[in-house]
């Protein structure tokens, strides 16, 4: 049995602020059924849109996930958005008198939902760490099982001063399923610790036309489409002519208002990994 503190138990058995806010100013959603936990956070601001007057949550997950959500809402009520944004996952854990290390990912989930909610409200880029639940993903997916990016892992490693892959699993879940990404996690840790620079995936110096086409296909298959799938979207490669890459959006991406952004994202990826001069064109097809 987990050695939960009395406070964790109490917040699990009597969680504060469960529910929805129908006219919420900000909503942040992270996690999924497949991952085993998910949190939807609702925030209501005062009339000046400065201070959080109410916060509610809905959580699918274990006792510590529910307790962490409850703690989060208690911590941010009455704070300005900037003050709330400064809340760390460690503060959530501390509020509960600590969490077993294996359960620290629950506190991280709380902080994540908060960041997402506020970023969405402010209309800036949404700091998406998971490849689901958000419109786009920054960074590269490291943990395929839980869809976690290097950007996200780096941030959690830095904030919590993690030094082992096991800790990273406890705080983020990364590496906790198939374990295939553990070597990569170790690389990221040493990178963060400044121990050794990691070899980056570089675009090749010179390309034959054939190789370029193959590479474009590879990047679309491995780096782009899996991210679109996560949001129920997809794309198809229609044609390649010189530096021009024609794609057609499918499923949720087809007719999506932000498909222009997605096309730019695809272009960015291809420029980063194939060649600087690639132009992506969206075509009907």
């Amino acid at each position: 049995m987990w050695d939960y503190t009395e406070k964790v138990r109490e917040h699990f058995l009597n969680p504060r602020n469960v529910g929805e806010i129908p006219d919420a100013d900000a909503v942040g959603e992270v996690g999924s059924l497949a991952c085993g936990d998910a949190l939807k956070l609702y925030i209501k601001l005062d009339d000046n849109k400065e201070r959080i007057v109410d916060a509610k949550f809905q959580t699918f997950g274990c006792a510590s996930a529910i307790a962490s959500s409850s703690a989060l809402t208690e911590l941010i009520k009455g704070k300005t958005l900037d003050e709330a944004l400064a809340t760390t996952n460690q503060e959530i854990a501390d509020f509960l008198g600590g969490l077993p290390e294996e359960k620290m990912h629950c506190s991280v989930m709380g902080q994540e939902a908060l960041e997402v909610a506020i970023a969405k409200y402010r209309g800036g880029p949404v700091p998406s760490h998971h490849d689901h639940g958000h419109e786009e993903t920054e960074g590269e997916i490291v943990c395929k099982c839980f869809g976690l990016t290097d950007t996200f892992l780096r941030k959690v490693i830095e904030a919590n001063k993690l030094t082992t892959a096991e800790q990273v699993t406890h705080f983020t879940k990364a590496g906790g399923a198939c374990g295939g990404c553990i070597p990569k996690i170790k690389e990221i840790i040493s990178e963060v610790l400044g121990a050794k620079p990691v070899e980056e995936r570089k675009k090749p110096e010179k390309l034959t036309n054939l190789r370029k086409m193959q590479l474009i296909q590879e990047v679309l298959e491995k780096d782009v489409r899996p991210m679109l799938w996560a949001d129920g979207g997809d794309l198809e490669l229609v044609d390649i002519s010189g530096n021009e890459v024609q794609i057609a959006f499918r499923k949720a991406c087809a007719g999506c208002a932000s498909s222009g952004n997605t096309a730019r994202f695809v272009e960015m990826k291809l420029r980063e990994l194939v060649a600087d001069d690639i132009v992506v064109q969206e075509v009907e097809g």
């Binding site: 929805e20 085993g36 959580t59 274990c62």
Partner: protein, 391 residues
């Protein structure tokens, strides 16, 4: 708070009669059965009696019983022995749903050059015998297939498996982890294809720390633990006399209670299952269409997470277990549920109730009363559950 214990596939209460049987062998009759004096000799007699009682429960001969320290040791000893007997063979067959005692060993062996076939199961947890038929070859040293699954209670057709192993394998050994089966369903080694079989004492109301490896007469055996001559050179180490004597008594009682297990206990399980399905929407039975142990119910609830259910049940004194990730410290649902392809919407919300002869109808009533509001409460709290409740 009085506990309602429904986690008997994890461990069981030591039957008080079993405890009384073992009690004198700590402070009074503490002799070593190997000693030449009367004081050890009288313990030897009780150990022999225990061996006979264990053999009787499973239709075996007394000299086919080897006492070990636990089910895991028995599993390890059986598989490693088979590999030593056939040093030139490099193939092991097992299933994806085995207990870690077998699965982890096989996976470790696969890193050391063995070819391991893990047989698949269908959505109900049933074995594909055709897959087994295709897998067994002359390179196969051992086939290890559990008799009954600890998480779902699904019972495998052991004799059909054994027949295939004997027909298709060139003398490949057939081992079964019967830790969950022995004492719950009748088994008869006198008319069986099984070469080696593992038992764990604490699953049938004996104490922890005692196990049995059945080794069929004539089956060559290479011991895992070497040292003294105990257990006819098949398992070195001074006998855990008190626990052996306890296990003998527990096996005798299991034989006497076998009918109760398969009638009254089964009826309680069936009633619990039917009532929960009726009272809780979006619930499904894991392995419900397969042949199952009479005491086990694995039930999955959509949109909620297992650990949270268990903790709320625990508040009511109800002890069950879960196939969910969070309870074990792992991050994925159990390998058994994943092998069965249980939909991810409910894999995290699977709960196992495993009954014993000590459970009562009143306890079943309590669970039927307490569980539905717990599921409702967690669904109201869950973003997915709410969508479903509102729909």
């Amino acid at each position: 708070m009085k506990e309602i214990y429904m986690d008997n596939n994890a461990t069981t209460k030591v039957d008080e009669a079993v405890f009384e049987e073992m009690r004198p062998y700590f402070c009074e009759l503490y002799g070593n059965p190997s000693s030449m004096h009367f004081f050890g000799g009288q313990v030897q007699k009780k150990v022999d009696e225990a061996r006979n009682r264990v053999a009787a429960l499973m239709g075996a001969a007394a000299d086919e019983i080897v006492f070990t320290a636990c089910g895991t040791e028995s599993d390890n000893a059986a598989i490693r022995s088979a590999l030593e007997v056939y040093p030139e063979r490099r193939h092991i067959i097992t299933t994806r749903v085995e207990h870690p005692a077998v699965l982890t060993l096989c996976r470790n062996l696969s890193k050391r050059g063995y070819r391991v076939t893990e047989l698949n199961v269908d959505g109900e947890g049933r074995l594909d015998l055709d897959e087994l038929r295709r897998a067994v070859d002359e390179d196969t040293a051992v086939v290890s297939v559990m008799w009954a699954n600890n998480e779902t209670g699904v019972v495998f057709p052991i004799e059909e498996v054994g027949k295939i192993v004997k027909e298709k394998g060139k003398g490949a050994f057939f081992h079964t982890d019967a830790v969950q089966a022995v004492g719950k369903i009748p088994i008869n080694m006198a008319a069986s294809t099984v070469d080696m079989l593992s038992i764990s004492g604490h699953k049938l109301h004996a104490p922890k720390g005692i196990g049995v490896l059945y080794v069929r007469k004539g089956v060559p055996f290479r011991p895992f633990m070497v040292g003294g001559h105990q257990e006819h050179n098949r398992r070195a180490g001074t006998e855990n006399t008190a626990a052996i004597i306890a296990l003998g008594k527990a096996c005798e009682l299991a034989g006497q209670w076998m009918e109760d297990e398969n009638t009254r206990v089964k009826a309680m399980r069936d009633r619990l299952q039917a009532s929960l399905l009726e009272l809780i929407p979006r619930a499904r039975i894991n392995g419900g269409q397969a042949e199952r142990l009479p005491n086990t119910l694995s039930i999955a609830f959509e949109f909620v997470e297992g650990e949270a259910i268990l903790m709320l049940l625990s508040e009511k004194g109800i002890c069950a277990s879960s196939g969910s990730a969070c309870t074990s410290g792992s991050l994925e649902p159990s390998h058994v549920l994943r092998a069965m392809g249980v939909p991810f919407t409910c894999a995290h919300g699977s709960i196992r109730f495993s009954l014993s002869r000590f459970n009562t109808d009143e306890e079943i009533d309590t669970v039927i009363r307490e569980l539905p509001p717990i599921i409702r409460r967690l669904r109201e709290m869950s973003p997915f559950g709410r969508e479903f409740l509102n729909a």
